[in-house]
Symmetry: C2
Subunit: 228 residues, 2 copies
């Protein structure tokens, strides 16, 4: 995308565009997001770019360093654990609610999502597959009819994408769709208790597939990182 489109970019659309790029791992953690650079890319002034970066920083997807600029966030091991702790408090119960409120239309949406994810994986679009996998979780909150929780989960999912970029161990891409398939069955059966349990396991599996030993920790300072 050459970005020289005649599209009218707003703070929200720019922020959404950037968030998706981060979510799909097209913008890796640590990437510098220069204001002039982005402004020129989108064909807008720094004013809008700054507002979008501010929005992303509030979602913890971008880190603003004073007088230094904006960078795609690099969640610490600590933060990674905390994000999944929060998800484990919110998502299982939300999955239960979703199961109890499941409708045929919602079920179709979820099936379509999984199908799209398979497509993406088959054509090697790993970033897109990861994004769709996240959308599955957000969709559940929407089905549960909890827009506030949906907003929170949406942020946690995006942050999880950064965490995966940094700490993913094996590329067991299957486990994702497998877990979602199992959840789908529970939803089809409107089995809330099962859905809650499956989601709980799913999140534990996710954390287990990360390498969260404090060893390769964030280079807090170059001083620390280099002097052995």
């Amino acid at each position: 995308m050459t970005m020289t489109d005649s599209k009218q970019w707003t703070t929200e659309t720019v922020a959404a565009d950037l968030e998706r790029a981060v979510h799909e791992h097209r913008l890796p953690p640590g990437t510098k997001l220069g204001e002039d650079e982005l402004g020129e890319a989108y064909g807008i002034s720094r004013t809008i770019v700054r507002a979008a970066l501010l929005a992303l920083s509030h979602r913890h997807l971008v880190e603003l360093k004073r007088n230094r600029g904006a960078f795609v966030a690099q969640p610490s091991v600590r933060e990674a654990r905390e994000v999944f702790e929060a998800r484990s408090l919110l998502e299982p119960r939300t999955a239960r609610s979703a199961a109890e409120r499941m409708t045929p239309a919602a079920l179709d949406m979820l099936r379509a999502n999984i199908a799209q994810e398979h497509e993406a994986l088959d054509s090697g679009e790993n970033g897109r597959a990861l994004f769709l996998s996240g959308q599955f979780h957000v969709e559940l909150a929407r089905i549960a009819d909890q827009s506030t929780i949906e907003g929170i989960i949406s942020e946690l999912i995006s942050r999880s994408s950064l965490i995966i970029a940094l700490y993913w161990r094996r590329r067991a891409a299957l486990c994702e769709t497998q877990a979602h398939h199992a959840l789908l069955d529970a939803f089809a059966a409107r089995d809330g208790a099962l859905a809650e349990q499956l989601m709980k396991s799913h999140l534990l599996d996710l954390v287990a597939s990360l390498d969260l030993r404090n060893v390769t920790q964030p280079p807090t300072s170059l001083r620390e990182a280099l002097q052995r």
Copy 2:
């Protein structure tokens, strides 16, 4: 406070100042927050004010209406229910963790908080009491050593303050400190299970003390509100 202080206001301090004013009910829901007005009050340009308002809008404390300006948010009954639903998923388990990690120093902080709240209530500073009551909950997440959850709860607490401003039913100011006292005992005993249960009840009591019937709903439009 005449605001003509020589203090150097930044985006963050202005946002924090405004958030506290909202939290303490000095700025009621629906209040217009004009940019020029605020800029003059703090002695800064609209640039900083806009950034602060943007931050508050991301926390759902301020509603930005395009070409209309910023207003202190007026959570709907729907949103009120959702906020307490989210809190009920996060806070009980967080209270349990806090109890398990409780230290003498943390216990003293909580005791001091309750004491300050009593002071405020005695001197009729209801807004300050409400703020301190909220701080108690945020402090628990800090003690649980979950800064991510702390951030989420902090926002939910501030939104709860708006909800209370709109939907509070009876003046049972006591119930708050009573519940916090009970929690304190559980913390002193390091009884995680009890703390979790008490927090669950506390939140249910809070919701019960609200008038969330859809009757006196938000005047979606004046048209609706006036033609009987």
